[in-house]
Assembly symmetry: C2
Homo-oligomer: 443 residues x 2
């Protein structure tokens, strides 16, 4: 536990400029600073008002006259037809928990009145409504209705694929292995000829969407009877857990107000509490210990993972999920950790849940990925004979939200000790055992 204490000291030093890293009683005084940090992290050009006016400005400058496209001709009645702009990547902010979520937006419309909208404007309009506190269906409806109002076409169709980060289970402090990666939902909205979901126009739209690999037949649209998509709404807070710090809840309400929203709006009333619950997952708990021995329950996943490499036996425990909170932006990052170590014939591999517990211990706090990887390597090294390799792969919410918006990006870090530090072939062999997915997670 030495490295943990050491980091803690250094950690307080780093944030010594008035922003307390603790969420305990000493955190009350610096809520103002926290709000500033959070606001900055939430986005650099959040627009507080004037959405309607902005849409008008964007659209009016880019409506081009186009002979031959007329509503008298109609969608299927003439040569003028459906236009779709697909795979527009955006991010939004969940109104239930204040965390960012990713939006892959597809827009279709049937021109009318002999005019077409410049293609880039569909993305700009979607971006205006994405950069608010949102819920997927509401976002789809807003984009659809704004485009319909300004273009006055025969109809507008919007399909959104939204992905939200999962919530860990705050009570167990152990990650549910099924809760890896992202939670996805699919919503749609239609106006004019697209108002009826059974209309032929929808069949055409979905047929065109399929052409570049978005197979809508395999995806299920969200129904109004489905439970809310934000995982914060299904977290059961037991009475055994102390209620969220009221000062922090007030700070979260202040953030909502700063964004130009009403914290008393029905959908937002419980948001501050949920936001704080999320943060409490990453609270620095001095009394929390890695349960070094009790966590070693038998796990069927840990079987059959031995790999014979170059006549040596390297044991590879792959794809252990983790969450962490980026200490630079107070935004989550999550991904998987791969661990490799040498075992001799008589040695029994360490349980996967044991490793999971260690990863969880170092992940569930304000972190940076480089440190997390190093800390895991240092923690497991004495248990595994000193020769270990740890690879972490993560998607960082701060890389998709904020100004940078690099949606496909991800980060890998590696830490090596003992023989893995000196033998390039051992490292290369281990890396080769990690399966390369057909497509990045969450894409």
């Amino acid at each position: 536990m030495m490295s943990y204490c050491l980091d803690d000291v250094r950690f307080h030093g780093e944030l010594g400029n008035g922003v307390s890293s603790g969420f305990g009683e000493d955190g009350y005084a610096s809520i103002e600073d926290a709000v500033k940090v959070l606001l900055k992290g939430l986005g650099e050009d959040i627009n507080r008002e004037g959405y309607k006016q902005k849409v008008k400005d964007i659209v009016q400058d880019a409506l081009f006259p186009e002979a031959g496209l007329d509503n008298k001709v109609g969608h299927a009645g003439g040569a003028g037809g459906l236009v779709i702009v697909r795979d527009l990547d955006h991010f939004s902010c969940c109104e239930s928990c204040l965390l960012p979520f990713q939006v892959k937006c597809h827009v279709g419309y049937v021109p009318s009145g002999q005019r077409v909208l410049g293609l880039s404007k569909f993305s700009r309009v979607a971006g205006i409504f994405a950069r608010r506190l949102q819920e997927p269906q509401h976002l789809a409806d807003e984009i659809c209705s704004a485009l319909h109002q300004e273009i006055q076409p025969a109809g507008v169709a919007v399909v959104l694929q939204c992905t939200h980060v999962h919530f860990p289970d705050i009570e167990l402090h152990i990650l549910d292995p099924n809760h890896q990666g992202w939670l996805e939902t699919l919503v749609s909205s239609g106006s004019g000829v697209f108002e009826d979901k059974q209309a032929d126009d929808w069949a055409d739209f979905l047929g065109l969407l399929r052409l570049r690999g978005t197979d809508m037949e395999k995806l299920k649209f969200r129904r109004s009877s489905d439970p809310s998509w934000c995982p914060s709404l299904s977290i059961k807070v037991s009475s055994a857990i102390e209620p969220a710090n009221p000062g922090m809840v007030a700070a979260a309400a202040k953030i909502i107000k700063s964004l130009g929203e009403d914290p008393l709006r029905k959908e937002l009333r419980e948001t501050p509490r949920r936001f704080v619950e999320w943060f409490r997952n990453f609270q620095n708990k001095p009394d929390m210990k890695v349960n070094w021995f009790l966590c070693g329950r038998k796990d069927p996943l840990s079987m059959n993972r031995g790999v014979d490499l170059n006549s040596e036996r390297v044991y590879a425990e792959l794809g252990i999920p983790f969450w962490a909170q980026c200490e630079h932006h107070l935004l989550p990052f999550h991904g998987v950790v791969h661990i490799g170590y040498f075992i001799s014939d008589g040695f029994k591999p360490i349980g996967r849940s044991h490793l999971q517990s260690i990863i969880h211990f170092y992940g569930f706090k304000l972190q940076v990925q480089e440190r997390l990887t190093r800390q895991i390597a240092e923690a497991i090294s004495p248990l595994l004979g000193g020769d270990v390799i740890v690879v972490a792969e993560a998607s960082h919410t701060c890389m998709i939200s904020r100004g940078i918006e690099k949606f496909g990006s991800n980060t890998s870090t590696i830490a090596v000790l003992g023989r893995f530090a000196t033998e390039v072939t051992a490292r290369a062999s281990f890396l080769k055992t990690i399966p390369s997915p057909a497509s990045p997670a969450g894409q």
Copy 2:
């Protein structure tokens, strides 16, 4: 040809605000305006100077102290190790022809001096150097050297996957069917421990890059002996073609100067001429005719494309490539056109090259995709019995460059006439015959 003449009149009307659409003699007077339009199209926040200072500003604010990462420990000698940030999408501007090209950037570094760089800064630094007139190897070297200088790590590695739009063959006015989509090149640059491409550190870097589907073993790095990557450099301009309009060449040189570059720099000297050659592909040629009959050469690709659908025979001619120049941004868009029509048993399908010639005729000018699709449908309809469906799928350079930067986005348009206008099942059946690629082109 009626629709063509009609559009031409309307087209001049649209650009009537001083920007001449013609590249003939009347174009001389409005070069100033053209330069303004082009500059705007080339990017909204091109930085003309101070690159070095900007990198320093970006990096210095985001160098975080991180205990345990030291150059005394070294990459493989301790727990501190390699960090890679992968799949950063950028665009740049080709110094040989002034067209934008896409850059997928992967950066790795081995921290040293107990400090790490905030992850988003790798993308910001890459963006600074991408937004200049560039050549892939030079871009990789600049990113690598700037990061090395400012972070002072044990080493930096940069891998770039660059994709450039193809050039059509200006002489034949017919698209080479092999010249579809993008031209790709792979370059790398290394400093410090990555200076030697045979070093173990490179093996680790490429091994980590593979984990999310970038299989470097299948990709070939560009060698210095390889011919230049920009297709404009391998276009042979025969003496039969009149030399490029000197006024336009001067205008292109002016653009280069406006970007803060020296038009007399060795690599840039011929760029204005090449840029003009590209634009001349899209010149509105009144004497150009679709060679309706001579183009009907036998094409093996047009065989076996008949599809029996619902006991009717719909013939589908799929994936005919096209290029066009977006009239709103003067930037290329390109993709494929799919054509469907009914044939009776005794009817012989029309030759693919014939359709290609028609598509080419309507594509090779300043265009918008909606109009292109409609014009193709109207032009082929009388030849194909009146029942036609035309689908165009395209990537628009204006959607990846400029402020919007939606790298994965693409646009579909559809035009239907006759029975395809009234029968939704006919449309749906045709759309189903179009194969859905595993991943979008150019991704």
